[in-house]
């Protein structure tokens, strides 16, 4: 276990390791056969994880940021740096919107297909959803522009260094530029570079450029596969090592032997 559970009795540590060991073996048995034991382990894991999330969201977000401050002082000015915004906007409005979402969601769950959800609730719940969507959209578009498109286009189109570059570097840079364009072309247009949308003289050039991009993407897929293999095998090796050869299993066996010998 970790230093974080030190306040529990020592037997809890070994019991916890045993629990985790058995759970892991059950899940690993999936590769032999998907039995009810495997599914029981999965369902147990999901139930515990769901509850952990609820506790986390409640204790780290909803209670300290929203409900406890509202209950303590409902109409206070926010204690944040911007003192001009009252608790109404910072806390009451999101609370109301959140409860509206819950009401609509619970009404939908209760009704389902047998009974249509209340239309007015569903309509009202559109507004908090619209807020969420709008924030995500705005931040997403701004981020894509500022964080990816502009820097990557700028880097891809840098030709200043080419003027003084040595021939190998020049060749490498031109190849990089060609592959970037070819990959973009292939992904956007696929195999349609030869169709009538494009002027006839341009078609062979575009087709060749997309061909280069396609090959580069295939090569990249192979490299990604290899790196993915490294990542997944590391997880598997680490897990098997921890289960059968790690320090914890040694400590556990030692504890078991002590228990056995101690009577």
């Amino acid at each position: 276990m970790t230093p974080l559970t030190n306040s529990l009795p020592p037997v809890w540590e070994n019991a916890g390791f045993l629990f985790g060991f058995v759970l892991s073996i059950l899940i690993l048995s999936f590769i032999i056969r998907d039995s009810w034991l495997v599914r029981a382990a999965q369902y147990l894991l999901v139930g515990v994880t769901l509850a952990y999330t609820v506790v986390l969201v409640w204790s780290n977000l909803l209670w300290p940021r929203l409900l406890s401050t509202l209950l303590a002082n409902p109409l206070s000015i926010t204690d944040g740096p911007d003192q001009s915004i009252s608790a109404l906007w910072v806390r009451w409005v999101p609370l109301a919107l959140g409860l509206l979402l819950w009401a609509a969601g619970i009404d939908y769950l209760r009704g389902g297909r047998k009974q249509p959800p209340r239309a007015w609730l569903r309509h009202l719940a559109a507004f908090p959803l619209a807020l969420l969507v709008g924030v995500g959209l705005g931040a997403g578009i701004a981020g894509a522009l500022l964080g990816t498109l502009i820097p990557q286009f700028r880097r891809a189109s840098e030709i200043g260094p080419l003027l003084d570059a040595s021939p190998p570097l020049l060749l490498a840079t031109l190849l990089t530029l060609a592959i970037t364009g070819g990959a973009l072309l292939h992904l956007q247009l696929g195999r349609t570079t030869g169709d009538s949308r494009f002027p006839t003289p341009l078609r062979p050039f575009l087709a060749g450029w997309a061909w280069l991009g396609e090959r580069a993407l295939w090569l990249t897929a192979g490299v990604i596969f290899a790196r993915l293999f490294a990542a997944r095998i590391t997880l598997l090796v680490a897990r098997l090592d921890a289960l059968f050869f790690g320090q914890q299993i040694n400590d556990f066996w030692r504890w078991l032997m002590t228990l056995w010998q101690g009577g």
Binding site: T2, G20, I31, L187, A216, A226, F229
Partner: protein, 222 residues
């Protein structure tokens, strides 16, 4: 980009199931919110900063509410299975019982997820369970290699070439047997052609997300 795509599908779902006027008002809210956020992020005017921060704070709290709603919907499904005696209802019961036990322990004991009991739960159940579950993907990727890393597949030669080269270089035993030039070539491959192809993919994805977002406002309910 992922979030932008999620936002777009959420919006479509909203529009598909409501009256036109509600849709228009909702779309107006989406547009105004997105415009304000964009104006703030692009630095058009500093006056939008307090409003933008307020909206971010709302989004954070509303996400917490929607998370709990998601948990409730999963539980509802399993409670339904238990009530109807559907297939595997005992497993659903196990899920619900485990949920209730951990929830009560977490809410009743001070400290939330940092209480010793919840930390123990994390170490004994969540961490080993999740780690083992994801470790299974190691088996599946080797099985996938059997089916897909074949010369006869489209692009098979190129994919195998990239994969074999990288595999040999990244594995300690084989890397020691390779000439230095080979390893240097693998580095160059990663920093040159692979990087360039990924840049093309990144730009393509960003452009697609951008145009999808613009399309949302030009033709939301066609």
């Amino acid at each position: 980009m992922l979030k932008t795509h999620d936002s777009i599908t959420d919006t479509h779902r909203m529009f598909a199931q409501r009256s036109p006027w509600i849709n228009r008002i909702a779309l107006l809210i989406v547009a105004l919110t997105a415009a304000l956020i964009l104006a703030d992020r692009l630095g058009i005017t500093p006056l939008t900063r307090p409003a933008a921060n307020l909206l971010y704070g709302w989004a954070l709290l509303l996400s917490a509410f929607t998370l709990l709603l998601g948990v409730a919907s999963v539980l509802w499904i399993h409670l339904g299975r238990i009530q109807q005696g559907s297939a595997e209802w005992p497993l659903s019961l196990l899920l619900v019982v485990a949920f209730v036990l951990v929830l009560v322990a977490g809410l009743a004991i001070p400290g939330g997820v940092t209480s010793p009991l919840l930390e123990w739960t994390f170490d004994a159940i969540i961490a080993p369970g999740q780690a083992t579950l994801f470790a299974l993907t190691g088996f599946f990727i080797v099985a996938a290699a059997y089916r897909y890393l074949r010369l006869s597949r489209p692009g098979g030669v190129w994919i195998l070439a990239g994969a074999i080269l990288t595999l040999l270089v990244q594995t300690p035993l084989s890397q020691q047997a390779l000439p230095v030039l080979f390893v240097g070539f693998a580095d160059w491959l990663l920093l040159g052609p692979v990087m360039a192809a990924m840049r093309g993919a990144l730009l393509g994805g960003a452009l697609a997300a951008l145009f999808a977002g613009i399309r949302l406002f030009t033709a939301p309910s066609k």
